[in-house]
């Protein structure tokens, strides 16, 4: 929500030479919409003030939306498992994969900060799994999830488990791209 005018939809403010502020709603297209407005008045000589409303996270959000569309079109139900490290995600997942084996086609995207250990445990269940080492990062972003989905090529009507890292706060804020209507975020532990 804009703290200048309280408007909740995409819009920009244009200040004209008389200092009057115009409130404009751009047409939203498929691509990330951005407008820049140049403030000619009250700008020091040799400088130019460029006003943007550029959300650095838009690229991730767009990719997340693409991920969700792909899963939805192929009737793949995604589960995003999020909790603090050590609270039991992998154990829950291992048990689920074992108990449901044969009843569903399943695949796993495994995010772990440092080791391939979690993926090894999952592979022991004979479920296709891809390890995404996030290195210093502490969550999966939409691009990582997209690449993992491409590698796994989950079947139509299958279940996709994304074992995430980090806290629920970061996972939700960064939207790895699970399906919101047929997808579920499971928060475990603390």
């Amino acid at each position: 929500m804009c703290d200048t005018c309280g408007c909740g939809t995409d819009h920009v403010h244009l200040t004209d030479n008389k200092g009057k502020v115009h409130h404009l709603h751009p047409v939203v297209s498929e691509h990330t919409q951005e407008h820049f407005i140049v403030k000619a008045a009250e700008t020091p000589y040799g400088k130019r003030v460029v006003e943007l409303a550029f959300n650095v996270l838009d690229k991730n959000n767009l990719q997340a939306e693409k991920n969700r569309t792909l899963l939805r079109e192929n009737h793949i139900t995604a589960f995003n498992l999020v909790s603090s490290p050590g609270s039991g995600k992998t154990t829950v997942l291992e048990r689920t994969l074992t108990d449901l084996a044969g009843a569903y086609s399943m695949a796993v995207i495994e995010g772990d900060q440092q080791t391939s250990n979690d993926a090894a445990r999952i592979r022991a269940t004979a479920t296709p799994a891809v390890q995404v080492n996030t290195g210093k990062g502490c969550h999966l972003d939409a691009g990582m999830v997209a690449r993992a989905i491409e590698l796994l090529a989950p079947a139509d009507n299958s279940l996709l488990f994304i074992e995430n890292v980090g806290t629920p706060r970061l996972s939700r804020a960064f939207r790895p791209g699970g399906n919101p209507s047929r997808g579920h975020t499971l928060c475990n532990g603390r």
């Binding site: 703290d3 909740g8 820049f36 460029v50 943007l52 959300n55 996270l57 972003d141 706060r169």
Partner: protein
């Protein structure tokens, strides 16, 4: 995206803006970071120092503003602010709340040196 990825995306946008306007480099940049954007301030500062040398942001001053996290209650339509992603509605107590603002990371303004 972790903080370094975020900073690199900012550098990319700043470079594109400089090019678009035929400017020399950036004088200052203003960022607005939502309270629930999941950005760790110390990590952001470290990433900034690491990523900006030899870019158009090298000598730029940076201003950071924080914007509030705004929720809407699906049950009673009340809008409220909170610091916690799983906030319940202060009016009806429902947990069916949705974040409508406060997870963004916005470049608000860039002042260019022409």
């Amino acid at each position: 995206m972790h903080e370094l990825s975020l900073v690199m995306a900012i550098v990319e946008k700043a470079e594109a803006t400089v090019l678009e306007h035929g400017a020399r480099d950036v004088d200052s940049i203003t960022l607005r970071i939502g309270r629930l954007a999941g950005v760790e301030p110390d990590a952001l500062a470290l990433a900034w120092e690491a990523a900006i040398p030899q870019t158009v942001l090298e000598h730029a001053s940076k201003m950071e503003k924080t914007s509030e996290a705004v929720f809407i209650c699906r049950n009673c339509q009340k809008e409220f602010t909170a610091d916690d992603l799983f906030a319940c509605c202060p009016l009806c107590g429902s947990s069916a709340t949705e974040l409508v603002a406060g997870d963004e990371f916005i470049i608000e303004q860039i002042i260019l040196n022409l």
